[in-house]
């Protein structure tokens, strides 16, 4: 029996699991997918929000501001790319200016540092490519960007390094109360734990129902995005939001920590929790709106488009609580969920403590992890020292992003281990560049097949039946 079962290996589940391993090595993470970070975590705006959006007094406001302040240190510990680039919420008229002033006040009450409303000239001096019709902006110097799936992979990996166990392809189908805890069953297997933490994203309402809690629902909110080549990644330096509406914070244009330009999302409430298709209409809308906020975006440099599903809850706030003994819901973690994740993890532990969980911090917990991209950060001399011992670091597999065989092998051998091509891509950036894997996919399959000891045709794009090759030629 484990001390804890964490359902869902997204960024919230990952951060919670890591936090729990500060106290116990008896943590089991149950993930229905073939890898971590496959839900909202891999397809969102990658923003650390400053914290002026959420209603005063809400859990969102509190955890956002706290999480945002923790993020730099958490990222440094976990070796995750993070950049404090500041954000602008732009307005186009007097009404917007009024809204932005209110937002600014709300930010101050929420505890956000340094927010101010600035005029067009001031905006131009820090962001020359701002949209032609932008008249005013709320400037938040504490806004930042981070790679969400990298943070998730690092958190799960760090939890595993501290003793946690990750069970992928384990979809929790039922939860049964047993003495001293719960039995969680998939179609083929089961796990027992004293405590259950429900971090199941868009499915967290369904998991809650398994123990009889139907007090809330979670609906997926679709958001379509476009990612542009690094060639245009420096078109802007701040994250540029637009004045908010009922459907969320609207479209944003932002650099990413990897140097690309990200544009999106749309916001559409749907019922299908798996519908991540993009639509021509959605992408056209993103384009049109983004062009108002930022001038001269070169959309011919789009390298990929994708859709994320945000877990939008029925209460409007994060739903974090214990509906029954030893069972914690961490549900409806929509935006600013990524920003809040480090604070959510601590909050969950404090909630457990208030409800009788007793444990003292482990002396052998190590909260740090080697950066996933440590190789690219080395100096040439350091790289050459390493290449002498491990020559595969000099063998470039992905030309567009200059990712070497050494980095790919490291990724395949590091917790949480990838088992498919997209898993390698999220960990190394191999095949994420302008050719989108045209050249390197066949080589990445070679490395995966060799390392996992499976046939070339057994390697998939992203698990399940996502086969790449069907068999030998004639």
């Amino acid at each position: 029996m484990f001390d804890f079962a964490v359902i869902g290996a997204g960024v919230v589940g990952g951060m919670v699991a890591r936090e729990l391993t500060r106290y116990t090595d008896s943590v089991c993470i149950l993930e229905k997918g073939s890898d971590v970070a496959l839900g909202a975590t891999r397809a969102n705006s990658a923003i650390v929000h400053a914290g002026f959006d959420a209603a005063v007094g809400s859990l969102k406001a509190r955890l956002n501001v706290l999480g945002s302040k923790m993020m730099a240190e958490v990222c440094a510990d976990l070796g995750v790319k993070y950049k404090n680039n500041g954000s602008l919420v732009v307005g186009f008229n007097d009404d917007d200016e009024q809204t932005l002033k209110e937002l600014c006040e709300r930010g101050k009450i929420n505890g956000v540092d340094g927010v101010s409303v600035i005029c067009r000239d001031e905006i131009l001096s820090i962001e020359p490519n701002i949209g032609d019709k932008v008249t005013v902006a709320l400037y938040a110097p504490t806004g930042a960007i981070v790679c969400p799936y990298e943070l998730c992979m690092a958190a799960v990996g760090n939890a595993m390094d501290n003793g946690a166990i990750l069970r992928t392809k384990f979809e929790v189908k039922s939860i049964e109360k047993i003495s001293e805890g719960y039995k969680l069953s998939s179609d083929t297997d089961s796990v027992e734990a004293r405590y259950v933490i429900n971090c199941a994203g868009v499915y967290s309402d369904e998991v809650a129902k398994m123990i009889g809690d139907d007090s809330f629902t979670v609906r997926p909110r679709r958001g379509e995005y476009m990612l542009l080549d690094r060639e245009v990644g420096d078109h802007i330096s701040h994250t540029v939001f637009r004045c908010p509406s009922k459907m969320g914070k609207g479209v944003l244009v932002s650099p990413t920590v990897d140097g690309n330009l990200l544009v999106g999302p749309t916001a559409e409430d749907i019922d299908d929790k798996e519908n991540t298709a993009t639509t021509a209409e959605g992408l056209a809308k993103v384009r049109a709106l983004a062009a108002e906020q930022v001038a001269r975006i070169d959309f011919s440099k789009v390298i990929t488009s994708f859709t994320g599903l945000r877990a939008s809850g029925s209460t409007g706030d994060f739903i974090i609580g214990m509906p029954t003994d030893r069972f914690v819901n961490v549900a409806a973690i929509e935006s600013p969920g990524l920003s809040s994740a480090p604070a959510i993890a601590e909050y969950v532990v404090s909630l457990l403590r208030e409800n009788g969980y007793e444990a003292s911090p482990r002396s052998d917990f190590n909260g740090t992890r080697r950066p996933m991209h440590f190789f690219s950060d080395l100096s040439i001399e350091e790289k050459n020292e390493l290449i002498k011992v491990r020559p595969e670091y000099a063998h470039v597999i992905c030309r567009c992003e200059t990712i070497t065989e050494g980095e790919i092998l490291d990724a395949i051998r590091t917790n949480p281990r990838p088992t498919d091509v997209d898993g390698v891509k999220r960990r190394t950036r191999a095949s994420m560049g302008r050719c989108q894997g045209g050249f390197c996919t066949p080589y990445i399959i070679d490395l995966l097949a060799r390392e996992m000891g499976v046939d070339y045709t057994a390697v998939t794009k992203f698990g399940g039946k996502s086969y790449i090759n069907f068999g030998k030629t004639k």
Partner: protein, 413 residues
């Protein structure tokens, strides 16, 4: 390390440039190749049709490449394999990496850029729908089938009628796959006429001109695509939508010269070709850095790649020996129907071949070259098409007789 001539890329362009430079007297040459063998993309082009112009016989891709590889070996021209160039500086310092030497730099006397091109990926096409496995560029599929020996699909739709797509339509069919359609956005094919005949018509594969893929279906592996006819503005017509079940979508929607190193060196690019802007000697706007082959502009036949690369190789030799001269300055302009020319300018009065492509299909048209108002060349053509590269020869005496600083290339009816 110092080298008189560093050639980046050991494909047909790099090898031909090396051989020509050697024959012009350069001995201190180094070819840097990122793959584990010389030959470039020709290694996976196992079909025939190469070499008719260059060798007067029909060769397969590997055979054509081997002709040059043999010359490289016989001349003893050194090369490094599995070696990736990561930077070229404006003063010709080349930074590269490989297992034996780690990350190292070479001060080059002259540099020839011969990195080839890549295929336009799906993301750039912005097709709506899901993101399942089973969507490949035609070249990636070609690599799986011809180099790895695996079949990436059974029921195939191909988007784009570029030559690699056409070749793969035939190749997949021969391997037992069913190719259901080749969709081409434009009202004409993007590939060579002979490939339409030999790769589609001979196998009864339908070519759907003015059609595109508007939606992708399937969760894990591709399950089907929705195609639609497009109007004259290339916008899909909703009523014409048609669902085709398939497990594979191959993309053959254009090639992009791979000029990241070129840009890094600060070399000026031509917006239309995507390659460097060069003079008749294939010299970029940085003296001593040359470019040739598909990194300069996408060629239709490898034979012309060899021809062009030999020009670059000889010019690099002249530069190394201090013999290059810039005696004239003539800009080559186009009318839009001619999309671009390579070279983009002339700086030496010598016999020069000017290559170009046209923007649309033109029938019974004339290629006209003007020096101001004076027509200096007028050449009748029954048919001109974007898929085929065109060539005009400018003789030395013609160039010497020019009155202005500009030549205009146009298509007239």
């Amino acid at each position: 390390m110092k080298k008189d001539l560093v050639i980046i890329g050991g494909g047909p362009a790099g090898m031909a440039a090396a051989v020509a430079a050697y024959e012009a007297g350069v001995r201190d040459i180094l070819i840097l190749e990122r793959d584990n063998a010389l030959g470039g993309i020709l290694r996976q082009c196992i079909h025939n049709g190469f070499g008719l112009h260059r060798f007067g016989e029909e060769l397969t891709g590997p055979e054509y490449a081997y002709r040059y590889e043999k010359m490289v070996h016989e001349l003893g021209i050194p090369y490094m394999l599995d070696t990736m160039v990561i930077e070229v500086s404006p003063d010709k310092v080349v930074t590269a990496m490989n297992r034996e030497n780690g990350i190292f730099t070479i001060q080059a006397g002259a540099v020839i850029l011969a990195m080839g091109c890549r295929e336009r990926p799906k993301g750039a096409l912005n097709i709506a729908g899901t993101r399942p496995a089973g969507i490949f560029t035609a070249g990636t599929a070609q690599k799986f089938v011809n180099m790895k020996g695996y079949m990436p699909g059974r029921e195939v739709v191909i988007l784009g009628s570029g030559d690699i797509g056409l070749i793969m339509a035939r190749r997949m069919t021969l391997e037992g796959a069913k190719v259901k359609a080749v969709c081409e956005l434009m009202p004409y094919s993007g590939g060579l006429a002979r490939n339409i005949e030999q790769c589609l018509n001979d196998f009864n594969i339908p070519l759907r001109l003015s059609h595109t893929v508007v939606n992708i279906h399937g969760k894990d592996r591709l399950e089907g695509v929705t195609i639609a006819r497009v109007d004259e503005n290339r916008r899909p017509i909703k009523e014409s939508e048609e669902y085709i079940p398939c497990d594979t979508l191959l993309l053959s929607c254009g090639l992009i010269p791979e000029n990241e190193l070129t840009k890094g060196a600060g070399i000026k690019l031509d917006r239309v070709t995507g390659g460097a802007s060069v003079n008749g000697e294939r010299e970029t706007d940085i003296e001593g850095i040359f470019a040739c082959g598909n990194v300069l502009h996408v060629h239709d036949l490898v034979d012309y790649v060899s021809e062009e690369s030999a020009i670059a190789g000889r010019a690099a030799a002249k530069y190394i020996f201090g013999d290059s001269k810039k005696e004239i300055s003539i800009a080559l302009k186009t009318d839009g129907k001619v999309r671009y020319t390579v070279p983009q300018r002339l700086t030496e009065a010598c016999d020069t071949s000017v290559y170009f492509r046209v923007a649309d299909v033109y029938r019974d048209a004339k290629i006209v070259v003007r020096d101001g108002d004076r027509v200096i060349i007028s050449k009748k053509k029954q048919r001109l098409a974007p898929a085929e590269m065109e060539k005009v020869e400018l003789a030395k005496d013609v160039i010497e007789s020019l009155s202005g600083g500009e030549l205009t290339f146009s298509i007239e009816m």
